[in-house]
């Protein structure tokens, strides 16, 4: 009897160890979460951003290639139509239609409202951030992402990912010192570009929650772009 009890205890411990250790690495969790938000290496986005403060609607066409090439063309508001941002790694240019000229700008140039350029242009965390597992519940992982390169919009990101689906649920955007700047919620999951993806990202100010922007993804297509699209000298002569 004593032997059988010990055997059950041993089996119980073995099972507990087996299921307690996660078979998936933190990097794989992040890659899977990225795959939910990014349909491929190179793709097109049709995005609408609504700002609570101004009640103004902004619309953009976005071309993303890998982690370091993004082009954002403004469609709305009408007075800004044609303004185009080009990001090549840590370099950024703004094409101003009135000047008919691209102007070199720093990376902290804002897109609209609470939405920074990085919220649309850098949808992929892998490669930009190093993840660590902070904690987990039976349904969610909580990862802390630390920037591995300069010039990113946020130095740190704390993100909650659903275990069953690898869906990013919400995030906190932090300074290097750990101060929370903004809160993001990934919601409105729907089918687009061959998978279930978050079609709405709500970004709100951490101090003033009423100050928020909603990024609504209207269309997403896997697409290859000619190299000329991502050259600053072509901003006035090419379109997405």
């Amino acid at each position: 009897m004593k032997f059988i009890s010990l055997l059950f205890i041993a089996i119980g411990c073995f099972v507990q160890v087996l299921f307690a250790s996660d078979p998936i690495s933190v990097m794989d969790i992040l890659k899977n979460a990225d795959a939910i938000r990014n349909p491929g290496e190179s793709y097109f986005l049709d995005v609408e951003v609504r700002n609570s403060e101004t009640s103004e609607v902004s619309a953009f066409h976005v071309a993303i290639q890998g982690n370091d090439k993004t082009r954002i063309e403004t469609l709305l508001p009408k007075r800004d139509r044609g303004r185009t941002m080009l990001m090549l790694g840590e370099n950024m240019w703004l094409f101003i239609p009135n000047l008919k000229r691209e102007v070199r700008v720093s990376l902290n140039q804002k897109l609209t409202g609470q939405a920074a350029n990085g919220d649309i242009s850098r949808m992929r965390w892998t490669g930009d951030y190093l993840p660590t597992l902070e904690s987990q519940t039976p349904t969610e992982w909580q990862l802390l992402l630390t920037a591995t390169k300069k010039g990113l919009t946020y130095d740190k990101v704390r993100v909650w990912i659903e275990k069953a689906t690898f869906r990013p649920l919400r995030a906190e955007y932090l300074t290097a010192a750990g101060k929370v700047l903004k809160l993001a919620t990934y919601q409105g999951y729907g089918s687009m570009a061959g998978a279930e993806r978050p079609l709405e990202i709500v970004i709100q100010d951490a101090v003033k929650p009423s100050d928020r922007s909603v990024i609504h993804i209207k269309n997403m297509q896997v697409k290859t772009f000619p190299a000329s699209i991502f050259n600053k000298s072509s901003l006035g002569s090419t379109e997405l």
């Binding site: 403060e53 101004t54 009640s55 103004e56 508001p77 009408k78 007075r79 139509r81 090549l88 790694g89 840590e90 370099n91 950024m92 239609p97 009135n98 000047l99 008919k100 000229r101 691209e102 102007v103 070199r104 700008v105 720093s106 990376l107 902290n108 140039q109 804002k110 300069k150 010039g151 000619p226 190299a227 000329s228 050259n231 600053k232 000298s233 072509s234 006035g236 002569s237 090419t238 379109e239």
Partner: protein, 393 residues
Amino acid sequence: MKCVLLIFLPFYLFGEWHVEYERGDQTACGFTENGLTRSRPYVFAKTTSEHFEASARLWYDFTHSHKDLEIRSLFYKKSAEQWSLKVGFQEIAWGETFGLYIADLVNPRDYTDPFFNDLGWIRLATFTLNAQYFKDAFSAQLVVTPIPRNNWLPTTHSPFNVLSEEVEGAKVRGPSKFKIDRCGRDVEYGLRVGYLFESGVDITAFYFRHWNRNPAYRLRLDSHARVFKPVLRRIQTVGASFSKAWEKIVWRGDAVWHMREPWTVHRLGVIKRRGVFRTILGADYTSDEGRTLGFQFHVDAWREAILCAVSFKYVQDFGGKKQYHAEFFAYHGLNDWDLWLQPQLGWDFADSWNLSLRCDILGGKIGKGLPQDGFIGPYREKSRIFAWLRHHF
């Protein structure tokens, strides 16, 4: 012009076109005796398709009872993996610095109001072949303008005609036009190459053979009347631009060397040709809140003189909805008395409406026509307030 429109018309019938409009009004009023110097309602229309763009602006100026239909763009465009081509009336922008655009040479300018520096208005579109080649971080651009255009310059009755004040009673003529039948013989052409280094330093170098862009005049006797006539000479310019972003600071610079540029070196219209080196080096800082603060150092040098100046720019959006835009631009000559202050306040009072108010406060002195007297001095009585209402639809 009609021929060009007819050539493009068949293409207009095909493809998907996007149309946008802007209407507005510009009103300028001098602080002193000048009164109303501009009262200009206008309509602007632009239509674009995959391969074509056409835009034009129709305006009427009540102060001079003058109207004009300006073709701002009318070109065919095609791009591929590593090149792009644009042929037709277009604007081509070169340079990195702000305020004074010394490297922006390809298009002539409208200098009838020399302190209205909105490039979307003052750059004159030219019929140009514009071919660009891209290969990774390298880019090259060839521009050829077979029939150039000249600057628009103030004439006798213009509020910015200061020559008639210099020589009392003298008339001022505008520049002559280049003729179509001389197509090719007056050609302007140039090449620009650029490279974005891994360090983030972006450098471009360019060469441009063109007609002088600076206003230069010769005083002549014409039927017993003294007349200032613009001087046109073909010159060569080489130059370079650079920019580098370092966290929140962007460094930028332009330098040009105009070879044998004609200059009016005396108030009586004596012309001299000289090599002129102009450079602007500067940096601007953008805060997380979106405020931009810029500073630039200017040097203009030729054999007889070196003139230095500084300029400053501040830009900020404010208000609960960030609907107000404040800008301040200042330029001050260090060797001369030139001063130009331009405070500006903009207001987006509806989704598509914008109202901006700006002042141009000008200072300087008039001397003996020496370089040290500066360029702004003759305009020191022309300070004004400028209102601009715009509606995009």
